[in-house]
């Protein structure tokens, strides 16, 4: 380990240090200035983003710089995701502002935990060894449990946190068990070493079992059927900004890990695990979309919709080709922004604690908040995959990848299911534009406006001029794809 290594670690160090500072501030007398916390957090995000960008210069020209005995690597892939995470956390910070001031919860600890979560996510994106990935994941999960229960005076929030905690621990145990089996067979936790070990192996039951358990643990994090049971309850119960975080940042991090682990470590056994994941993906799309149709609670509907989106994204992993990996990156980004925009609108409609939840709250929104209603339509169309929104581009890559990899049936399921998904997305459009009535009042703060505007910009830019983001994605993923081709 050298000082250069530590420099590569700068973003994580900054996030962790920042989290600690945010913790100390109230003790030093900052408690009274709760509103300052938001700015401190945003500043921290800005510095972290700079550090992430700075680290790209450190690896310029190098595909990957593994450090710390090849447990941690800075590469274009991790930088892509880290930047995404920083933006997500910054936006969640903005989303949280009103919630915190209205409910009068302590702000500094809240942001501190968000920063810890960010730190964990960045470890996940950079982890090239199962052990670092696992600890990063735990750091994220632990922060999420507490944040989900931050609404301490609402039973639902506490209950959601408890459910999330217990089930998360179960899934974490499953994951760890999988890792230990893989370690037992391959003798290493480094992804590249595992890949090398696997390439000389024939079929191996214990190993397959380990891979299955690992996949199960990760499927829990991305909320894929049948590991999705926690999602609706937690999204409904948790504080709304945290639901937004769980459905975007947390999932994106899990997908970063999913993609890296499976593309780097397990290409040799693709034939064996792809069918399992295909079944999980198909189930997620079908159950998620169908269950969403009958929901009238928007948060619950979004939870089921996010389950189905996990299914779409899985296509990219199942396909195991260049386009699939690109698809995952694009789709994750696209999905994150569309979802954050929707959550911003929901937060805007919150009346006391839990409004913005029922479809009725959205009635006649286009009269009361035309900009919000319009952007909401764009986000919904993006989630439904209608061109020329960003969602179409993402789905297009994923579905094309599935067809290319010979999973045509899965692509058909996906396309049909995304048609079905328009059923419930359109219901919100109908409520906003085609129904009269007085829905919930709107409290449209500048922060929410900013989140909506930024998400809208990304959704439209990726839709209209996708060339640039796609180039970026190709650059960010090519070195992982290279390994696939080598096998």
């Amino acid at each position: 380990m050298t000082w250069a290594d530590t420099l590569l670690l700068l973003p994580e160090l900054i996030a962790a240090t920042g989290a600690s500072i945010l913790l100390i501030v109230p003790v030093l007398g900052g408690r009274a200035r709760g509103h300052m916390a938001k700015w401190a957090m945003l500043a921290l995000m800005a510095v972290t983003a700079l550090a992430v960008i700075g680290s790209t210069y450190a690896v310029a020209g190098v595909q990957q710089t593994p450090t710390f005995r090849a447990m941690f690597a800075v590469d274009a892939f991790s930088v892509f995701f880290k930047l995404l995470f920083v933006v997500v956390i910054a936006l969640v910070t903005l989303l949280s502002e009103d919630f915190l001031s209205e409910e009068r919860y302590s702000t500094w600890e809240y942001y501190s935990l968000l920063a810890f979560a960010l730190c964990g996510m960045m470890f996940m994106a950079s982890g090239v060894s199962l052990i670092t990935i696992y600890i990063g994941l735990e750091l994220l999960a632990l922060s999420s449990y507490i944040l989900a229960g931050y609404y301490k005076n609402h039973e639902e929030s506490t209950e959601a946190a408890m459910k999330y905690f217990i089930l998360g621990t179960v899934s974490s145990a499953i994951l760890l068990y999988g890792i230990s089996l893989i370690y037992g067979v391959c003798g290493s936790m480094r992804l590249s070493t595992i890949a090398a070990a696997l390439s000389t192996m024939l079929s191996n039951d214990a190993l397959m079992f380990g891979i299955m358990l690992l996949a199960a643990g990760l499927c829990f994090k991305i909320a894929a059927v049948p590991f999705h049971v926690w999602t609706p309850d937690v999204y409904v119960g948790a504080p709304t900004p945290i639901s937004a975080f769980l459905s975007t940042g947390s999932k994106a991090a899990a997908f970063a890990v999913f993609a890296r682990v499976f593309y780097v470590a397990f290409p040799a056994f693709h034939l064996d695990w792809s069918n399992v994941l295909a079944a999980i993906a198909a189930l997620s799309m079908i159950v998620g979309n169908l269950a969403a149709i009958t929901q009238t609670n928007v948060k619950r509907m979004l939870a089921y919709s996010s389950i189905s989106h996990a299914g779409y994204s899985l296509l990219g992993i199942i396909a195991m080709n260049e386009m699939g990996l690109r698809g995952i990156l694009i789709y994750t980004m696209v999905y994150v922004f569309a979802n954050l925009g929707i959550w911003a609108t929901i937060l805007m409609l919150r009346r006391h604690a839990y409004a913005g939840e029922s479809v009725e709250d959205f009635r006649g929104l286009h009269k009361r908040a035309p900009f919000a209603a319009f952007s909401m339509v764009v986000f919904l169309l993006s989630l439904g995959g209608i061109p020329p929104t960003a969602g179409f581009i993402g789905k297009y890559f994923l579905f094309a990848a599935a067809v290319q990899a010979g999973f045509g049936w899965l692509a058909i399921v996906a396309v049909v299911m995304s048609a079905v998904s328009m059923f419930y997305y359109l219901r919100l459009v109908v409520a906003m534009y085609l129904e009269e009535g007085s829905g919930a009042e709107t409290i449209y703060s500048p922060s929410l406006r900013f989140v909506t505007a930024l998400s809208l910009t990304v959704t439209l830019v990726v839709g209209f001029i996708p060339e640039l983001p796609i180039r970026q994605v190709i650059e960010s993923s090519s070195h992982l794809v290279g390994r696939v081709v080598q096998r």
Binding site: E155, M162, K163, I166, L167, V170, D205, M208, F209, M212, L213, A216, F220, P226, F227, V229, W230, P232, D272, W273, N275, I286, V287, L290, A291, I293, T294, Q295, Y304, M323, R326, P370, I386, P387, P388, F392, I393, Y396, F397, F399, A400, V403, G408, A411, I412, V415, V416, A419, M422, F423, L426, V430, Y433, L434, E435, E436, P466, E467, I470, R471
Partner: protein
């Protein structure tokens, strides 16, 4: 102009933005000005572009205007590029000019409605999307327009949201279309996989060079046709179109008669090379077209809502177009598309004028004797009725007979061709019958509505009658662009020559149809005689007698009339076979798969009292079941897959 083709869809889009954002503030007068300016300017700019094209491409080749690179990285993208060729030009002219006329008409028709600005914003947006669809140079790019028109159609059908069925109808239209789109999307993926491109010219040249296997071509053709079935309302995806009549009548004229629903026909003609290489796919298209034409024509006979009759008529006429495409007479498909745009738009707008005069009444049983009260509407409607019924020398006669003659003479599948011809001819007979039934019920006899309505009756303002007159004239002379060979006029088959570059003769690929003069004359004679017979029968039954004859039939054959009135119970069938199970499946996945926990495992003990109790929470409750489920899933993974 040629290097600025992107302006054409952009102008109406600007109109959409202006009216959509400021419609409420600027008042109806300015909204009208913006909307008319946008659509009129579009039409003029398009015409200018066409003239420049004629000057620049004397051989009528393909003009490509690449705007920017949408996405090509990753090898599955395409450019944002517009093209102009004879086929695009035909569509462009129809869409922009008919579109302009209908904008004009809407000014009068929608004048008193709420949401005037919103209406024109949507209408302009539709025009923009439709122009992308018509001018786009690759399958992927026209897909943008394809979805865009679907979205606008959805918004416009649901325009009268205070009528509860309108929103449902809009949603139905959108979802059914999405089902069709799945065919389109998968077809594109196949093109990428096997041809490496989705550019029209690229795919066609790959196919022409034999780079694609017949199986792939057939698959692509059938999938594209599935997409076309959704958009163009063919069996089994036609069910949305009759419901779409919930929207304002000018919308029905523009979107659901003249332009959007013909997009499927346009796309198939665009892909004519692929179809010619796959006779089996063509046969499917021809048969579905024939069935749809016949089936919906019979339904139209028993409808009493004036717009519903026209809606089923549209489905039926679209079926004719697909017959043309399916039997290999691509030009005649486009020919019928053009004439249909004229006379059907005229019919819908006329119906709109009638409804306007009747104060919103759409039921023909309450009309009658309107001939004297609304004379302009009457004569334009009459012209269009004669045109659609297929009497020479009106527009519909030439296009329909070219299709029927081609079906009779098709070299691809002679026997099936004769069958399709038979279906088409019978459908044509029904067409004349239901149109004259409509005509007699509406315009002759005594007025059957209320006194108030009678008092209210008035001719529509000029903004409405002017488009009617223009379209009526076009319905008369529109057929002259495709005069058949046998007439030996100086300008025979104008359209076919015009379309030559789009439907090239290529060695070894399905030849084009040569219709013997004898066949053509016979077919024309037969269908004209049948149309005359239908007219005679309708006259006997309905002239001045209202619905007495229908009531008599109902008494003697209650089953038949009911079946027809209820549209063969297709909607009910869909409800029973698709919608209800889907809903049940939804409830199943939600309540059972998720509720394995609460429901099946039955934690009834999860009571209100348990809420505040953390300890009980730990020990009962969902979590235990959730965990059990997680564990079960892992065990299944282990045993089934590992």
């Amino acid at each position: 102009m040629l290097d600025k083709l992107w302006l054409i869809p952009l102008i109406p889009f600007a109109g959409f933005l202006l009216n959509g954002l400021f419609g409420k503030k600027i008042g109806n007068g300015l909204v009208t000005a913006v909307a008319l300016a946008a659509s009129g300017l579009t039409a003029m700019v398009s015409t200018l572009a066409v003239f420049q094209y004629l000057g620049a491409y004397p051989d009528h080749g393909r003009h490509l205007d690449r705007v920017y690179n949408w996405f090509t990285a990753g090898g599955i993208g395409t450019d944002v590029a517009f093209q102009l060729d004879p086929l695009s030009i035909v569509m462009l002219m129809v869409v922009t000019w008919v579109g302009f006329l209908i904008h004009l008409y809407s000014v009068g028709y929608m004048g008193e409605e709420d949401g005037y600005g919103r209406y024109f914003a949507y209408l302009n947006l539709f025009l923009s999307a439709m122009l992308i669809l018509v001018l786009g140079s690759s399958y992927l790019f026209i897909f943008v327009g394809w979805e865009g028109v679907g979205l606008c159609s959805y918004l416009l059908i649901g325009f009268y949201y205070d009528r509860d069925y309108a929103a449902a109808a809009g949603k139905k239209a959108f979802i059914v279309n999405r089902i069709g789109d799945f065919g389109f999307l998968i077809a594109m993926f196949l093109m990428f996989n096997y041809a490496g491109t989705v550019d029209f010219a690229g795919v066609q040249s790959m196919a022409a060079r034999g780079q694609l296997t017949p199986t792939v071509i057939t698959a692509i053709c059938l999938l594209l046709f599935l997409g076309a079935c959704g958009k163009s309302a063919q069996i089994p995806l036609y069910i949305w179109l009759p419901d779409a009549m919930a929207g304002p009548t000018p919308v029905s004229a523009l979107i659901h008669a003249a332009t959007m629903v013909t997009a499927g026909v346009y796309m198939l003609v665009r892909s004519n090379l692929l179809y010619r290489m796959s006779p089996s796919a063509m046969m499917v298209v021809a048969l579905i077209g024939g069935l749809t034409a016949l089936f919906s024509a019979t339904i139209a006979v028993a409808q009493n809502d004036i717009k519903k009759v026209l809606a089923y008529s549209t489905v039926s006429q679209l079926g004719f177009m697909f017959i043309g495409v399916g039997v290999g007479a691509f030009t005649s498909g486009i020919f019928h598309l053009v004439t249909h745009a004229f006379f059907k738009a005229c019919l819908f707008l006329g119906a709109g004028s009638v409804i306007h005069a009747m104060g919103g009444e759409q039921d023909m049983r309450k009309m009658g004797g309107l001939r004297k009260k609304i004379p302009t509407t009457f004569w334009t409607f009459t012209v269009a009725t004669i045109a659609i019924s297929g009497f020479p020398p009106f527009a519909g006669f030439f296009s329909k007979d070219e299709i029927l003659a081609s079906a009779f003479a098709t070299p691809y599948f002679p026997a099936v061709g004769k069958l399709v011809w038979l279906m088409g001819t019978v459908a044509a007979f029904f067409t004349a019958f239901y149109m004259f039934r409509l005509w007699y019920l509406t315009f002759t006899g005594d007025f059957r509505g209320t006194h108030e309505q009678e008092h209210h009756l008035h001719e529509s303002p000029w903004t409405m009658t002017f488009p009617l007159q223009v379209l009526a004239v076009l319905s008369i002379i529109g057929g002259f662009i495709g005069l058949p060979q046998m007439l030996h006029t100086p300008v025979t088959n104008l359209l076919e020559h015009w379309m030559q570059p789009v439907i090239p003769e290529i060695e070894g690929i399905g030849k084009l149809i040569e219709i013997p003069v004898g066949t053509e004359a016979t077919v024309a004679l037969v269908s004209t005689l049948l149309a005359a017979l239908a007219w005679y029968l309708a006259r006997q039954r309905y002239r001045g007698r209202g619905l007495a004859a229908d009531l008599a039939t109902e008494q003697s054959h209650p089953g038949l009339v009911h079946t027809l009135e209820n549209k063969y119970y297709v909607d009910e069938g869909y409800d029973a076979t698709v919608v209800t199970p889907l809903r049940q499946l939804s409830i199943f996945s939600w309540k059972v798969i998720d509720g394995i926990i609460d429901g099946t495992l039955g934690l009834v003990g999860y009571t209100v009292a348990a809420i505040g109790d953390l300890l009980r929470f730990f020990q009962t409750g969902n979590v235990r079941n959730y965990a059990l489920m997680l564990f079960g899933a892992v065990v299944i993974l282990m045993w089934v897959f590992a």
